[in-house]
Amino acid sequence: MANKQFVRFDNVDKSYDGKELVVKGLNLDIAEGEFVTMLGPSGSGKTTCLMMLAGFETPTNGQIYLDNNVISNIPPHKRGIGMVFQNYALFPHMTVYENLAFPLRVRKIPKDETDKKVDKALSMVSLQGFEARMPMQLSGGQQQRVAVARSLVFDPQLVLMDEPLGALDKNLRESMQYEIKHIHESIGVTVVYVTHDQTEALTMSNRIAVFNDGKVQQLSSPDELYERPVNSFVAEFIGENNTFGGEIIDLSGDKCKVKLNSGSEIFANPIVAKSKGEKTTVSLRPERAIIDPQSSMDNNHKGKIEEVIYHGDHTRLRVDLLGNKEFILKVPNSSSGMNIKEGKEINIGWNSSDCRALDPK
C-alpha cells in the first residue's frame, strides 16, 4: 500500500527577515507516487516550500517529514531528492554523459552500472546518442530533458521541479508537460512541481495545492479545483471567472438568493457564505452561461454585448450584465452562426448550482 504521508509538512512557518512570514502554518500531505503541484502567484511561498523540502532553506517553525523521518537536520546532499531547476542548472563544463553520471559517481556506483543507468535515463527522455554533447550545444528543450533525466538517474523516490518549463516556448512547453507526465506515470516516482502557470498545473497534476499569501488555499484534484473552488481567490486564480458582489437575502437548502450591488437578484449555490445578510462574491465560469437557453434555467437575465473577440475555436463576448461590464461569455464556433453583434441585447441563462457564492473580496 502506498504511503499516504510520504511527504508531510507539519505546521511549517518560514520567515527570512524575522518580521514577515512567507509561509504560514503550512500543513500538506503528499502520498507516495503522487504528482502534486504547488501553484500560486509569485511571492506566495511555493518556491520557499520546495527549497525547504530540498534542504536549501530551513523551516523557522514546524517539521518536514519524508517517509516518516524528520528531515530538517539532514543536509541537502544526504536527502536523496532529485531536483530540476528553473534554468536547468546543467553543469556547463561537463558533457551530457558526465552530467548524468555525476550523481552516480558521487555515490560510488561502478562504471558499467553507471553506463547502464545513464543510458536508461537518456532513453526515457529520448536523447540517446547525445552523451558526448556539451549542454551549450543542446536546444532549450533538450537541455530541459537532460535536466529531467539527471534528476531521475539515481532513482530518487522524490523529485522536485521548480518551474522547469518556464524558459520554453509555448509549443515545446506543452509537449514537455505530457512527456514529464508520462515519465511520472511510467516510473511511479513522487513529484512535487512548482509553477505559476495554471494550465500546466491542471494538465499534469494528481493534486494541486493553490498557494497564496504563504498559505495553501485549496488542495484538491484539478477538476475539483476548477469546478468547485472553495474561495474567491482560487476561483479567480484558476481559469476564467465572472464575479458579482452582493449580499445573501434568502437561503433555502442548497440555493440562496443574492441581491447584487446593482440591485438585481440572482440565485446561487451557497458555499462559503451560509447565512442571511452575509456579504458574498458570486463566481460563475464563462462556459456555464448560455445565450438564449432552451431549457429552463433558474437564472435568466438580459445583457448587452459590449465587445466581440474572435478566438478561432470559440468567440468571446464581453457583456454588460447586471451591472458587471466585464462579464465574459464563450460561444463555441459552430455552423449555426448565431447572430452576435456589438450592441445587441441577448438573453443569458445559467443554473444556480454552477454559480457559487464565496467569500467577499
Partner: protein, 415 residues
C-alpha cells in the same frame, strides 16, 4: 544560362556602384582607426623594436676604431700582433683624442675586460710623446697591458657588428678568448640569482594573491548588492591611490619601529632589541606586491564567478555531492578561466615590477627590473638593459605560450 548583370538606375553595374559606396565607409573606418594605430606604432612597436635592436647592436666600437680592426684581420690571435696593428691603434686613438670622443670606447671596452679603462686613459694621455715608428715597443712602455695578448684579444672580440654577448651576460655567461661560451667566474654569477629571485617572487606573489583573492571574489559575487558594492570599493580603493603612496605606507607599517613590529613585540614574539626586519628584504617585496597586485586577481575572478549560477552548486548538492565535492567538481572548474586570467595577469605584472621592490626590497629583495633600471640610469649600458628587457619579454611570451598549450587562451576571461 548565364546570369544577367544587374545594373543600377544610372547604368553602372550594381556591383561596382555598391563597392564605390562601401569604399567611402571603409575609408572612414580606416581614418577612425588610424590615430590609435599610429599611437600603438609609435609608443609600442617602435620602442620594442628599438630595444631589440639595441640589445644586439655592437657597431660603435668598429666605427670608432676602423683602422685597428682592419689591421687585426691578419692577426692569428695567439701571440702579440705585429707592428701594423699597433700603428692602427695609434692612428685611431690619435683621431679620437683630437675629437675628444675616446670616452665612449673606454666604457665599451671595459665591459669586455676590466682594466681597459686605465689602459686607454693612460695611453691617450701619453699619445703626444709617441714618436713615429716602432709603435709596439713604445705602447708596451706606456702600459704593460699592451704586451698582454688577452687585452688585444678582448679588443678584437669587441669587433663584431652584431653580438648576442649581452644575452650571455644576462645568464652569467661570456665569450672567452677563443670565442667559446663559458660561465663567468663563480663570484660574478649574479644574474642567475636575480632571475631566480624574480621568478620566485612573481610565483609566490601570484600564489598569495590567488589564495587571498579567491574567497574575496566569491564573497563579492554572492553577497547581496549593498554589501558587495562596499567590498568592491575596498578592493578597488588601492587602484585609486598612487602606487607610490601605497608602497610608502607599507614602508611606514613594516619599518623596524613601525606598528607591525610593535605588535610583534607586544605579542611577545620578539624582544624589543631584536625586532625582525620586515623591510629591505624579500619579505617586504612579498607583502607589498601581494597587496598591490591583489585587485588584478580579484577582478577577473569576480567577473567569472558572477556568471556562475548559484543553482549549479545547489544542483550538485541535490544530486548527492557533498559541499566539498560539489565545489571541487563544479564550482572550481568553472572558475578556471578567471584563475588563468588572474594568475597570468599578476605573474606578468609581478615579473616586471619595479617601484615596489626598489623601495621596500632593499638589496636582497630587488628584482631584474631594478637591474634594468640600474643599467639604464647608472651604468649606461643600454645594450645590456635592452637585452635583459628582451629576455623578460621572451619569458613572458613563453609563459603565455605554455598557458595556451595547457589551458587554451580562449579559456581566459577578463570580464
Amino acid at each position: 544560362m548565364s546570369k544577367e548583370q544587374i545594373l543600377s538606375s544610372d547604368g553602372i553595374p550594381l556591383e561596382q556602384s555598391l563597392k564605390k559606396a562601401e569604399r567611402k565607409n571603409k575609408l572612414k573606418a580606416v581614418l577612425l582607426v588610424a590615430p590609435l594605430f599610429l599611437f600603438l606604432l609609435i609608443i609600442y612597436v617602435f620602442p620594442i623594436g628599438d630595444m631589440l635592436f639595441r640589445s644586439v647592436d655592437d657597431r660603435m666600437i668598429t666605427k670608432m676604431l676602423p683602422n685597428t680592426f682592419k689591421a687585426m684581420e691578419k692577426w692569428d690571435g695567439r701571440d702579440l700582433p705585429d707592428e701594423p696593428v699597433y700603428k692602427a691603434i695609434y692612428d685611431d686613438l690619435k683621431y679620437l683624442k683630437e675629437n675628444k670622443t675616446y670616452g665612449k670606447i673606454i666604457a665599451r671596452l671595459n665591459y669586455e675586460k676590466s682594466g681597459f679603462s686605465s689602459l686607454i686613459k693612460k695611453t691617450v694621455r701619453k699619445l703626444n710623446k709617441v714618436e713615429e715608428g716602432n709603435y709596439k715597443e713604445q705602447f708596451i712602455k706606456i702600459h704593460k697591458r699592451w704586451g698582454q695578448p688577452e687585452y688585444l684579444v678582448a679588443l678584437r672580440n669587441a669587433a663584431p657588428n652584431w653580438s648576442y654577448a649581452k644575452y650571455l651576460k644576462g645568464i652569467d655567461m661570456k665569450f672567452d678568448q677563443d670565442k667559446n661560451i663559458t660561465l663567468v667566474e663563480e663570484d660574478r654569477r649574479i644574474y642567475k640569482i636575480l632571475w631566480f629571485r624574480t621568478v620566485n617572487v612573481a610565483f609566490w606573489v601570484t600564489v598569495f594573491c590567488f589564495i587571498l583573492a579567491y574567497p574575496i571574489s566569491h564573497l563579492l559575487a554572492t553577497l547581496p548588492m549593498k554589501y558587495s558594492n562596499l567590498l568592491m570599493i575596498c578592493v578597488l580603493l588601492p587602484f585609486w591611490t598612487s602606487l607610490l603612496v601605497r608602497t610608502s605606507s607599507w614602508m611606514v607599517l613594516l619599518q623596524q619601529q613601525g606598528p607591525i613590529n610593535d605588535l610583534i613585540v607586544w605579542l611577545g614574539l620578539a624582544t624589543d632589541d631584536n625586532r625582525p626586519e620586515l623591510m629591505y628584504n624579500v619579505i617586504g617585496t612579498f607583502v607589498a606586491m601581494t597587496q598591490i597586485l591583489l585587485p588584478f586577481m580579484v577582478l577577473p575572478l569576480y567577473s567569472v564567478m558572477k556568471t556562475i549560477s548559484p543553482s549549479l552548486m545547489r544542483a550538485g548538492k541535490s544530486l548527492g555531492g557533498t559541499p566539498l565535492v560539489s565545489f571541487v567538481k563544479i564550482y572550481f572548474p568553472l572558475t578556471i578561466p578567471g584563475i588563468g586570467a588572474g594568475c597570468l595577469l599578476v605573474f606578468i605584472l609581478a615579473i616586471g615590477y619595479y617601484i615596489t621592490p626598489a623601495l621596500v626590497g632593499g638589496a636582497s629583495g630587488s628584482l631584474i627590473s631594478n637591474t634594468i633600471a640600474y643599467h639604464m640610469k647608472s651604468s649606461l649600458d643600454w645594450a645590456f638593459a635592452s637585452a635583459l628587457g628582451t629576455m623578460l619579454l621572451i619569458g613572458v611570451l613563453a609563459i603565455y605560450w605554455v598557458y595556451n598549450k595547457l589551458v587554451g587562451i580562449d579559456n581566459i576571461k577578463l570580464g
